[in-house]
């Protein structure tokens, strides 16, 4: 383990033509954490991951992984980083055995024991063509290639989006077992929030090319509350807390807030909110009668 953050971005941005795919992204992902990168399609998740592994070059700011630049220190850094791209691309005509051989030839730090143990554990025949395997099995092969590098940081782009519920669970279980064994840092992007609370301890919410919220999931869940009360102007609440979402009926006001203190007006009823509700609020979902404010928000925290 190093004392550096696993991934650190400062003012990071990427522009394609006139459109920013990621803008003003500053964040620090602690070593040993399992971080979910959440946001709708097109929010900038893939862009952020590709910048982190040096597959693309920032238009602004910088990103470092394990204290090194993925562009200038690629040779020493990349063997320490595992990356599984979206749709886990593999050579479909290769057998499982060919695929492992490719991994061995391409990676200086390849651990054949790890690779073979995983293939055996998964019950995959070495002679079978990769293209004939199920989606879940292909995802596991792609994960095996990344894990056999013995990476310190593992980046997974939408790893479970295309998988059925059983394959999702098995895939995430494999990742978690690897974390338990090695203490590696994992960042996985997802547009599906369910399941993330089980496997992740940190969260980054991306929307419209910007980070909306970054932090430990426990703290995020503990600090957000839903307030309901008689219809009021939320200005008094806003002086103390961050109002993420507000909605009103004729008589009632409902606010989703990030609490910055403990004094609540006794007019408000307090309710706990789950992670999914919080994420949706930051992504701009306004609730039944609401107006989302997330779209106009700058990065929080």
């Amino acid at each position: 383990m190093t004392e550096h953050a696993a991934v650190e971005a400062v003012g990071l941005g990427k522009r394609y033509g006139s459109k920013w795919a990621l803008r003003d992204c500053s964040l620090e992902i602690p070593s040993g954490s399992v971080t979910a990168l959440v946001g709708p399609n097109g929010a900038g998740k893939t862009t952020l991951l590709q910048l982190a592994v040096g597959l693309s070059r920032p238009s602004a700011g910088s990103v470092s992984v394990l204290g090194h630049s993925p562009l200038t220190d690629a040779r020493s850094l990349l063997p320490r980083v595992g990356f599984v791209a979206q749709e886990h691309p593999l050579y479909r005509g290769f057998t499982v055995s060919d695929t492992l051989k490719l991994g061995r030839k391409l990676n200086p730090s390849w651990d054949e024991g790890v690779a073979l143990a995983r293939i055996e554990h998964l019950g995959l025949p070495l002679g079978q063509k990769v293209g004939q395997l199920s989606g879940g099995q292909q995802a596991q092969i792609a994960l095996t290639l990344a894990l056999a590098k013995r990476p310190e940081v593992l980046l997974l782009d939408e790893p479970v989006a295309s998988l059925d519920p059983l394959a999702r669970r098995e895939f995430l279980q494999s990742v978690m077992e690897a974390v338990a064994e090695t203490g590696m840092t994992v960042i996985l992007s997802s547009h599906i929030v369910a399941d993330l609370e089980r496997v992740c301890d940190h969260l980054v919410i991306l929307s419209q090319a910007r980070t909306q919220l970054v932090g430990p999931i426990d703290e995020i869940v503990a600090s957000h509350r839903l307030l309901t009360g008689p219809r009021t102007d939320p200005a008094s609440v806003e002086r103390v807390h961050d109002v993420i979402r507000e909605s009103h009926t004729e008589r009632q006001t409902t606010l989703l807030v990030r609490a910055n203190g403990h004094v609540y007006d006794s007019n408000w009823q307090l309710h706990e909110v789950d992670l999914e509700e919080i994420v949706l609020a930051y992504l701009g979902y306004g609730g039944p009668n609401g107006t989302g404010r997330a779209s106009s928000r700058e990065a929080v925290a």
Binding site: V34, L172, E177, R198, D218, R225, Y264, D274
Partner: protein
């Protein structure tokens, strides 16, 4: 040895569910002093959850003095949960009964009382956020 299970819809954080299940097992005598808890790896494999969550639960149990982590060996139950003293409970119950009487006299029905009780027991949001 015990097996953990998770209720995704309970709203209770995962680590706290693990803590509660250990406490419950100790209270019921399913786990006794000296018994080993499942290893982090075993819990992770069984539930497909983050190992940091299991570590957090075990750390909290350790801090509470209920279990003891032995480096490289595992985590063991170190003490029994002493049930709350019966005298104290008796007194608290009669105080509560008097309170319920006063609440009824003030016109609160059962649902009102339950809401008031839950609201009072719940710690303020911000103190937990800290």
């Amino acid at each position: 040895m015990i097996e953990f299970h998770l209720d995704a819809r309970s709203g209770v954080p995962t680590y706290l569910q693990l803590v509660q299940q250990v406490r419950q097992a100790v209270r019921l005598g399913i786990l006794r002093p000296g018994d080993q808890l499942p290893t982090v790896k075993e819990v992770v494999s069984a539930l497909a959850i983050n190992p940091n969550t299991v570590l957090k639960a075990y750390r909290e149990l350790d801090l509470a003095g209920l279990v003891e982590g032995r480096r490289g060996v595992g985590t063991f139950v170190s003490s029994e949960l002493t049930p709350s003293p019966p005298d104290g409970v008796k007194e608290l119950r009669s105080a509560l009964q008097r309170w319920v009487g006063r609440a009824r006299a003030a016109g609160l029905d059962d649902e009102n009382m339950a809401a008031l009780f839950a609201d009072t027991v719940r710690p303020p949001a911000a103190s937990r956020a800290a």
